[in-house]
Amino acid sequence: MDDLPIPLSKNYLQSAISTQYIGRPTLYYKSVTSTNTLGFQAAEIGISHGTVILADHQTAGKGRLGRTWHSPENKNLYFSIVLTKPSSQSVTSWIPLLTGVVLAECLESISALSISLKWPNDVLCHEKKLGGILCEARQKGASNWVCVVGIGININCNKDDFPLELSPTATSLAIESHREYHCHDFLTTFLEKFERKYEHLLNAGIHDLRSQYILRCQTLEQSVLVHDMAGTQLKGQAVSIGDDGALEIVTSENSKSGIITSIRSGDVFHVR
């Protein structure tokens, strides 16, 4: 394996943060290929559970299923949380949704904007995407597990920073609220809240998180169209969130019987 690049700081947030393990340490880089890629490399050499990889710029930011994530320099936040302590299946499947809830709550509290989630974890403001979450895990047998929670949040970028194809669907906090924000203050708040909610999920189960998620999730009670990777399309009404975080819908074909179909992957579109 290649050696890791040397971070600008190995304990960037140490004095400012009040967490037990999330962001301890926070390895801060000027530029990386992708914070998720670096997170997995760091896990290979044995970094501690909760380490955060933070970068001002990603040269090859990752999206889901091989898509790329646009990462203009110094204006937004790009970081990954590396979790190395295995958790149960019931916890693992909620990590993407938990991250969405934490992000929405933090963004709302600093900006006073109304922030919602599209299932499972697209963070939206006025129907446009404020950020992206890419959770990747590697499983090597039952006990060796690494999960890297990658987050890109559009904080201070303006309309001109988005490539043409993204400008109709992407936005930033600054665009929506007409002011600028201190990225790393936001990061501290985010990591502290993430740890609190993650610990609560581990210790008390999904009940509270599911309630918080349902309050935020604008997909519920909407007509939805689901495209899966096999090319299948399903149309229906989103009715609830399952025990593992799945989106539960009643398809048009099942509207009389009310049989529920659980969606765990694919792209979900809200149909007006």
Binding site: G66, N121, S265
Partner: protein, 156 residues
């Protein structure tokens, strides 16, 4: 074993049956009872209907026709650690991670299982040869559902 213990176990077996479970474990006053049974492989609907697929652990896998019983016995099943969707490649346009007959190294990624946009890469636990790929890409999978048969003796 006392009559009351027998009755308790019988009640657990009925519970297993009623709820189509494959495994049930109860620990009471320092006594642990674990009941497990194998079910045939699950056939899932395209996007995974609720309640249609009971969880399976090391469920029966079709024998590989060309393999001797001794070979069959040493094959290792690679199972899904979560409920989700099975992908054989990192993106829809990319080549599959592995094909049948490929030799793989310990730690090599074999597939992805996605759930709620958490992309789980499943790695080989040992060096070996992929004897059989048990599912098509984009198929919904259950917890513990077998994905690959790996022959750990079949190293190149």
């Amino acid at each position: 074993m006392s009559d009351s213990q027998k009755e308790e176990i019988e009640a657990l077996v009925r519970l297993l049956d009623q709820h189509h479970l494959t495994e049930l474990e109860l620990e009471k006053k320092g006594v642990r009872i674990r009941i497990r049974r194998d079910l045939p492989p699950v056939i899932s609907s395209p996007i995974g209907e609720r309640f249609t697929s009971p969880p399976i652990e090391q469920a029966a896998v079709e024998p590989v026709a060309s393999a001797t019983p001794a070979e069959q016995a040493r094959f290792v099943t690679v199972a899904s650690p979560i409920v989700g969707t099975f992908y054989r490649s990192p993106s829809p346009d990319a080549d599959a991670y592995v094909e049948e007959g490929d030799f793989v190294k310990k730690g090599q990624v074999l597939c992805i299982v996605e759930a709620m946009k958490l992309m789980n890469e499943i790695e080989a636990e040992a060096d070996g040869r992929i004897v059989k790929i048990l599912l098509e890409s984009t198929t919904p999978v259950e917890y513990g559902q077998p994905l690959f048969l790996l022959d750990p003796m079949g190293v190149s």
